[in-house]
Amino acid sequence: MSDSMQTLEKHTQSEYKYGWSSDIEMDIIPKGLSEEVVRMISAKKKEPKWLLDWRLEAYAKWKTMKEPNWAKLNIAPISYQDIIYYAAPKKQKKLNSLDEADPELLKTFERLGIPLDERKVLAGVAVDAVIDSVSVTTTFKKKLGELGIIFCSFSEAVQEHPELVREYLGSVVPQNDNYFAALNSAVFSDGSFCYIPKGVRCPMELSTYFRINAANTGQFERTLIVAEDDSYVSYLEGCTAPMRDENQLHAAVVEIYAKERAFVKYSTVQNWYPGDKDGKGGVYNFVTKRGLCNGFRSRISWTQVETGSAITWKYPSCILKGNESIGEFYSIAVTNNYQQADTGTKMIHLGKNTKSTIISKGISAGKSHNTYRGLVKIGKKADNARNFSECDSLLMGDRCGAHTFPYIEIENQSGKVEHEATTSKIGADQMFYCTQRGLSVEDAINLIVNGYCKEVFNELPMEFAVEAQKLLEISLEGSVG
């Protein structure tokens, strides 16, 4: 294993030494899940009655549901009664300056190219020491406000814009959609809310400047994005910095509601702690992400780069209800060591002349397993629907696995579905060609892998793409040769 892999693992495992500590007073309720707990969560957040009722309804449904049966995932049973479902945002032990932070951690930040101010926050330097980024945040909030864009935490939205939350919450992902969505609906902690008014193009990538603050929203995150007619927004979730979390189970829900000609671009970089090299202790990441293209020519585009978590289970989906609406899914999923990823997308064509594109790039190294599972469904009324899917798998070494399961359901014969799939090993010939020209083995791997992922990187906002590229390099270090 290379030095930097060790570094990554070391600091993701280190307990409290450099400020990952949580020995500060916390506002928590006892572990376990019951109706009582759901009520307590809602009360602590001072929620209106309709929301409490909504949570209780979800809880009642969850109790009747069964945990999904893991086809390709090898998973230790989760004990839902051992989880603490509410804890006020944990405060890290604050440092006075970056000089006090773990030098290894700082080195990683530097390699990832994370801006200096953000490094401070991520390393746990007291926030009031980071005047720049705070003032930047306020400036942007003001600018968004002038355009009528609402972008705030979910809890804030419940208090400030209850009518909007009430109208759209659960409109894309119903409470009983799946086991984890039901669980999230009952106990969600916080998350983000975003509303783009009619005709407004959001002038900046949302969350570029806010992602640090959003990093601590807990294990049951809820995001709701509503885009009115003719609006546009590019939303970034996650962070390339390695995220450590004591919460083993993460079950987030993301809902996107796009109206006529609205275009929502949602980009994720996920780098949760994947567990140690023996596969112990990583985060289980079970996410429900769905977008509804509800109007004529609505368009939703998902782009994701997944490198973290012990287990990832995630299918960002699009329901193409409006005529001529467009759904897109661009994904890179990297697994190393004992990681398992089961990801893919669902494109549900309901409207006429709807179009979807799926580009999935899996990279498996070590003893990991990487599964693509995709559903393309063309409904009865979806005349002339089109789908193009390309699912490629790249294997590094011969102890890892890649699996592709494309499911296709066609109820309208005018539909056209094209599927291409390839599995390749990182080519010895390509490696030799690059090293013959003087590139080191590591540089050659990075070059080839980046080339392989190019189509997806192209979809990411520029600065995010650069970070994601470096993240990929770090994730795969020491995996060949």
Binding site: G427, A428, D429, Q430, F432, Y433, C434, T435, Q436, R437, G438, L439, S440, V441, D443, L447, I448, N450, G451, Y452, C453, K454, E455
Partner: protein, 253 residues
């Protein structure tokens, strides 16, 4: 520059090179000819350090050091360049990005400063023009969908920018039209210098009219069976390989 002594090489337990001896001095151009499957590309790969080839005996000395001891990238940085018979495609990696990376990695190893974007572009444009290549070639994915001739020119472009000490060109002339052949040969000739050597693998005497070699060797069944000057190539063209094969078996007998 290069001293190959009794080199024996196997692939998957089949012996392919069966005792090759060859010495190349600085500034010399050597041509290797020989029938299909005789081991010409194998020799190129072994000198460049490809994995699958097992050296069972013999030695290769390059600039006074044991070449076989070095990894492929170390050899490249020490000035060994192999122009591939079948250049490899790398989708998604732009040609310009690749050229930038290899140029800077070689420069760095020589203790030279990395070229900035402007200087890089200038260098690439200049070399492209001298090889009659369109600047569009820079934007395309490396060798991906290149025509046979485009790939070969791209190999010469890489050789030109990397400024090697020993250039091994494996059938760089195959697949080139007459004009391209002229351009590529001019490229090679302009790089001839007292401290750079070439090992040129070819099937066609024609190329050797443009790039006039100091020596011509004939490789048959893993052995150099005949060496001579450029007139040997003409003789081969005339009489075919059977002639040398026969002659060499008579010598052996």
């Amino acid at each position: 520059m290069l001293k190959i002594k009794d080199l024996r090489v196997s692939v998957e337990d089949t012996e392919i090179l069966k005792g090759v001896n060859l010495e190349i001095k600085p500034g010399e151009v050597h041509a290797i000819m020989g029938p299909n499957g005789s081991g010409k590309s194998t020799l190129g790969f072994v000198l460049a350090g490809k994995d699958d080839y097992e050296v069972t005996s013999g030695s290769v000395e390059y600039q006074g050091q044991d070449l076989l001891d070095l990894s492929p990238d170390e050899r490249a940085r020490d000035g060994v360049f192999l122009g591939f018979q079948y250049p490899v495609e790398i989708p998604g990696v732009s040609n310009s990005n690749f050229l930038k990376m290899i140029i800077n990695s070689i420069r760095k190893s020589r203790g030279q400063e990395e070229l900035d974007a402007l200087a890089m572009l200038k260098l690439l444009k200049e070399k492209l023009a001298s090889l009659g290549m369109d600047t569009n070639m820079l934007k395309r994915s490396l060798n991906d969908g290149f025509s046979g001739g485009e790939k070969k020119r791209n190999e010469i472009l890489q050789m030109a920018v990397l400024d090697p000490k020993l250039a091994i060109l494996d059938e760089t002339d195959s697949g080139l039209d007459i004009d391209a052949l002229k351009v590529v040969s001019d490229g090679v000739n302009s790089m001839r210098s007292p401290d750079r050597s070439f090992l040129i693998i070819t099937h066609y005497q024609r190329l050797l009219n443009y790039i006039v070699p100091d020596f011509v060797h004939v490789l048959v069944d893993g052995k150099i069976v005949k060496s001579g000057d450029k007139s040997l190539a003409l003789e081969l063209e005339d009489k075919g390989y059977d002639w040398v094969k026969k002659e060499s078996s008579e010598v052996m007998a």
